[in-house]
């Protein structure tokens, strides 16, 4: 038997290949496994009210273009790139004021306001840091999971988490 990470990669590659040949169950499984990653990548870039729609759009795009993916094991990195592009496109189309209106919490909702304030602080960080921190702090993924899902190396994820957290602490103090 292969080691566990190899098995996981093979598993994802097999799911991708099955999905490429039209297996809707395999694609549904990919959606289940990668939706948190896509949600985090998108949330790091656009207003929360639109995140769910963009996440859906990312997976629809992925399904349409799945045949173009030559290396099935690279699915996570490929999907992450689609998510970043979709989120960036969406951000360009949507006026900033509209985003702000959606983000405003109900009066008296202190917890929600605090969450949005922290999220704003994370979003103000450089790209690599904000995305990794959202995946860790919002989506609850471990560093290893982030590396596995995004295609980044564990070392890169460690650096992003470390430096990002340092900057975030400074911003919040």
């Amino acid at each position: 038997m292969s080691s566990a990470p190899d098995t996981v990669k093979t598993d994802v590659a097999c799911l991708v290949r099955s999905a490429q040949s039209g297996d809707r169950v395999a694609f549904a499984e990919l959606y289940q496994r990668f939706t948190r990653m896509v949600h985090g990548v998108v949330l790091a870039r656009i207003g929360r009210a639109d995140v769910d729609d963009v996440v859906q759009d990312v997976f629809v795009t992925a399904l349409e273009r799945l045949g173009e993916l030559r290396e099935p094991a690279a699915f996570g990195g490929w999907l992450g790139t689609i998510a970043r592009h979709r989120a960036t496109d969406h951000g360009r189309r949507m006026p900033p004021t509209e985003t702000l209106v959606h983000e405003v919490a109900a009066p008296g909702d202190r917890d929600r306001l605090e969450a949005l304030a922290i999220l704003d602080a994370i979003r103000a960080l450089p790209d690599a840091y904000r995305e990794t921190l959202v995946l860790r702090l919002v989506e609850g993924m471990s560093g290893a999971e982030i590396a596995d899902r995004t295609g980044l190396t564990p070392a890169s994820v460690r650096v992003n988490l470390h430096r990002g957290m340092k900057l975030l602490r400074e911003k919040l103090t």
Partner: protein, 330 residues
């Protein structure tokens, strides 16, 4: 860097914990919302379809996957076999036999690949869109299949292996005994009414005249495997009671698939013991009773399987039905 930031291990970091608590409500919901695919209208260049085509409704892709008919029907190419001697075509009805030191690589239509180990004897039974089958008389094959489940079958002297996606090794000994080891996805083993579902990281033996044994996690001890072999292939023999005791004592949460299979395979008098052991890992869902399991109630067994979180029995049973429809095995 704190371990807590990496994987929540080590000493807790109060500030990170506070951030996690505050931000948790913003995370993707669990389970995530259904994925809704809205097919885009198809408009031909010649305008055969004008305006926006009214495609049938959007469809939902859930974890169990239900309605979307995305299966692509492709032309089925000939199977190509590559050995050190070169390439050749393999026709339906023909045998492929490898020598003592010869390995072959086979392109399985457009749905996968097969590596054939030395001293292996195989016959191509059928190949057409949506259905491909082989007979493995002896030897070892490594299959990697990316077609949808239930399209690739390998018949052996003691069981039919059904690919439920996607990578496994199947061995048949000279006496007709077999073993499947699953690297990724699932494999179904079937002989008459006896069926086993084998997940990735597990293996399952099979014997002529009996059919598939009980799947086990590859990490279990040799003694555990031997005990299962007694339960599967020597029922009633001396040592059966001790074998069951060993399996129950050594079973961990990762052995829930093994225990589930045993629920319907051990003698009625022993089912309560298996019931109790499985219940320590996965509680029987509402409506599943000790008496029902003791009596082999299929609906209750299915309900408990569903509770394992490995996929719904509806899906398994659908495939199982298709096996029966597609292959009149034994």
């Amino acid at each position: 860097m704190s371990d807590y930031l990496w994987d929540k291990g080590g000493e807790e970091d109060p500030e990170i914990e506070r951030l996690e608590r505050a931000l948790r409500p913003l995370a993707q919901s669990t389970p995530p919302p259904p994925l809704v695919l809205r097919p885009r209208p198809v408009i031909s260049n010649r305008g055969r379809w004008t305006g926006v085509a009214l495609l049938a409704a959007s469809v939902a892709l859930l974890a169990g996957g239900v309605t979307l008919a995305l299966r692509l029907q492709r032309a089925v190419p000939a199977w190509q076999v590559t050995t050190t001697k070169g390439q050749s075509s393999w026709r339906v009805g023909g045998w492929l036999e490898t020598g003592d030191r010869e390995q072959a690589s086979v392109q399985v239509a457009d749905i996968g690949t097969l590596v054939v180990e030395p001293r292996t004897r195989l016959r191509l039974l059928d190949t057409r869109a949506g259905r491909h089958s082989l007979e493995l008389a002896r030897g070892t094959v490594h299959a990697t299949i990316w077609a949808p489940p239930n399209q690739f079958f390998v018949d052996t002297p003691s069981s039919l292996a059904v690919d439920l996606g996607c990578a496994y090794t199947l061995t048949v000994d000279d006496d007709g005994s077999g073993l499947v080891r699953v690297l990724a996805g699932w494999v179904g083993f079937k002989w008459r009414d006896r069926e086993s579902f084998i997940p990735a990281g597990s293996a399952c033996p099979t014997r002529p005249g009996i059919g598939p044994g009980t799947p086990y996690n590859e990490r279990v001890s040799p003694a555990y495997r031997d005990a299962l072999s007694i339960l599967d292939f020597s029922p009633g023999a001396p040592g059966t009671a001790a074998a069951l005791t060993l399996v129950l004592d050594e079973s961990a949460e990762s052995d829930e698939v093994t225990l589930w299979h045993l629920l319907s395979r051990v003698p009625d008098a022993d089912r309560d013991r298996v019931f109790d052991r499985l219940a320590t890992f996965v509680a029987p869902p509402a409506g599943v009773t000790r008496a029902g399991i003791r009596g082999g109630d299929r609906a209750m067994l299915d309900a408990w399987w569903d509770a394992l979180g490995l996929g719904t029995t509806a899906l398994w049973r659908t495939w199982s039905q298709q096996w029966t429809d597609n292959v009149n095995h034994k």
